[in-house]
């Protein structure tokens, strides 16, 4: 398929715009969820949306997106409230409360769904769409609604930026400043429920968890400020959404949701390895260099102080490499007598003296 054809393809346009909107909303809200140690909130709320979707169908009798949004928001909020009650008023920890709400609300959704299927047979296949999303079936009218939700959520976040930030960082202190922390936390949770509604269409219930976590986790590696973290998370979300949708369309037959998630996961892995400052690769290189420097000092010290004992160092692999290096740099040389034993060159003697001096200065 030609790129131009692709870009003008109606379905492709819809999918790409939808996926971008999902990235735009789930990235920033995921940051708050992750920093509030509720990374799996998105997972729970997306599962909890099922009974809401079913209820709206039972009440309105149609698959109207407005009804679905209200239903999903309602049961999502109810699940969040249940989680809060369980953790505050019982000995259950957060993980158990999330797992309980996730599975029970989903089970309730299944019960309602089979109830619908028992009463009329019109909505077969509705569950499949709910579980895996149906990106390709996205309509322009859906996009307007998703766009409006995204815009409204981000605007709200912009207005209450200060409050959201302080409550996330230090809720108790925020209370002493007179902020209604419970209301702010509830709003942040409700916003995640809104992001879930956008995500149901694109990636489905099960993969929504990653849409909340992955962009935030990637962004955290690159940023020092909350503001930049949110911006990067939104960027990561959009990039994964667009590339997932593109690959899916080009491949003809691979599901969009999983491709979006795998792209986001790949970005997380790259960020973990390469992000400046926090990247694991830099850490490993630094660690390696430090280890080598220390080994070098140790060798020079030993050759200077205990030349005979030093010969045993050759057996270990790391030391042999450092020995070779010192040899090439002209600090060490094979002894002229037998050509096997090592000894310090005059240059090595000088370097070793410096090492010894610093060691004895620290530990006399």
């Amino acid at each position: 398929m030609q790129w131009l054809d692709l870009l003008s393809d109606y379905t492709f346009q819809n999918v790409v715009i939808g996926a971008s909107l999902l990235g735009l909303i789930s990235g920033p809200l995921g940051c708050f969820a992750m920093l509030r140690r509720q990374s799996l909130l998105g997972d729970a709320l997306s599962h909890a949306a099922l009974p809401g979707v079913c209820l709206s169908f039972i009440i309105t009798g149609s698959r109207d997106i407005g009804g679905i949004i209200i239903g999903a928001l309602a049961t999502g909020s109810l699940a969040a409230l249940t989680m809060l009650l369980l953790t505050r008023h019982s000995r259950l920890k957060t993980d158990a409360a999330i797992g309980v709400c996730l599975s029970i609300f989903f089970a309730l959704g299944i019960v309602l769904l089979t109830y619908i299927q028992g009463t009329n047979n019109a909505s077969q296949g509705g569950l499949e769409a709910f579980l895996f999303g149906q990106a390709a079936a996205t309509l322009r009218s859906d996009l307007w609604i998703m766009g409006a939700i995204t815009l409204a959520t981000l605007a709200l976040l912009g207005i209450f930026w200060k409050q959201a930030k302080l409550v996330t960082f230090d809720a108790e202190y925020a209370r002493t400043l007179g902020m209604p922390t419970t209301a702010i936390e509830a709003t942040l949770t409700a916003m995640v429920a809104l992001a879930v509604v956008v995500g149901l269409q694109m990636v489905g219930v099960i993969l929504m968890a990653a849409m909340i976590v992955a962009p935030a986790a990637a962004a955290r590696q690159w940023s020092r400020h909350l503001g930049s973290m949110l911006a990067i998370a939104a960027g990561v979300g959009i990039v994964s959404g667009v590339s997932g949708a593109t690959i899916s369309t080009l491949s003809r037959g691979l599901a969009t949701g999983p491709l979006i998630i795998l792209t986001a996961t790949a970005i997380v892995l790259i960020s973990l390895a390469l992000a400046p400052g926090r990247g694991l690769l830099w850490g490993a290189i630094k660690h390696y260099r430090q280890k080598e420097a220390l080994q070098r000092q140790q060798l020079l010290y030993t050759f200077y102080k205990h030349p005979r004992a030093a010969q045993r160092y050759r057996t270990t692999f790391g030391s042999r490499r450092v020995l070779g290096k010192l040899n090439r740099q002209g600090y060490l040389a094979r002894s002229p007598d037998d050509g096997i034993e090592w000894s310090l060159t005059p240059q090595g003697q000088a370097a070793a003296k410096r090492v010894v001096a610093t060691f004895e200065e620290v530990a006399p």
Binding site: D170, E172, T176, L177, M179, R224
Partner: protein, 260 residues
């Protein structure tokens, strides 16, 4: 005004009781802390020291009690109260800088919609200067040492320009230099007429630091001028068997080491 008394108390508590699972954590606390003192709250582990501060600030619900700050209920005087929580209460891996954390102290004054601007940042910078941390303003908070983090928290309370400060174990887990720096700042604040109420755990330094003391173990064991309160009888009463005496001088009193 009916509530004002001749020598106004910075903090006045009447009949404060806090319970947790029907176990009293604080029992019938009543005290008056005069303005302009550096007050220490001292007592054994589990005596309710932190709970006292938290219940005064409304962070922990109380069964009964009345809290007046400079003669009026706390809720009406919120802006006059600054709080330095325990360092361990937040996630120091949060993506933000030292300057930004200090600016958070001004959020209450800014109200709902206004954003912190240049003026607020300058104030925060000054507060960092006061605690000797201006060089670290743009440092990521996870890269600060424990003592530096504590100073940032102190600076955050300073920008609030409160009259009464509550500090929850500000000296816990900080190095000796930081401890001295923190005490210097607190003394300067006291000399400027502010009231400082500090939860403290190290009996050795109590006499040197505080001029007013509350000895607490669920109830008030003793309160008042440090010299009157810091008596061996009172300490025995508060700490029970946990106290060990070394030598016969009262200045050498150590809490028996206890895993914390």
């Amino acid at each position: 005004m009916a509530t004002s008394v001749p020598t106004e108390s910075a903090l006045s508590i009447k009949n404060l009781t806090v319970s947790y699972h029907n176990q009293p954590v604080l029992w019938d606390i009543a005290l008056d802390i005069p303005a302009g003192v550096m007050a220490g709250i001292v007592g054994p582990n589990g005596a309710g020291k932190s709970t006292l501060i938290k219940s005064l600030l409304g962070l922990v619900p109380s069964l009964s009690g009345e809290v007046l700050v400079h003669g009026r209920p706390y809720a009406a005087q919120r802006k006059r109260v600054g709080y330095v929580p325990q360092r361990s209460s937040v996630d120091w891996d949060f993506p933000t800088t030292a300057l930004d954390v200090v600016t958070m102290g001004l959020y209450g004054r800014l109200g709902w919609l206004r954003r912190p601007g240049r003026k607020e940042r300058n104030e925060a910078q000054e507060a960092l200067e006061m605690v000797g941390m201006s060089a670290f303003a743009n440092r990521q908070i996870s890269q600060l040492s424990g003592g530096q983090q504590q100073r940032v928290f102190l600076a955050r309370a300073l920008v609030q320009q409160a009259d009464v400060y509550f500090l929850d174990e500000p000296m816990a887990g900080v190095d000796a230099t930081t401890e001295r720096a923190i005490i210097d700042i607190l003394r300067r604040l006291r000399d400027a007429g502010k009231t400082l109420i500090v939860v403290h755990h190290d009996l050795q330094t109590v006499r040197a630091y505080f001029d007013w003391l509350l000895l607490l173990n669920v109830r008030v064991i003793a309160s008042g001028d440090a010299d009157d309160v810091f008596k061996i009888d009172h300490l025995r009463q508060a700490y029970g068997g946990q106290i060990a005496l070394l030598g016969d001088s009262e200045s050498q009193i150590f809490a028996a080491p206890k895993g914390k």
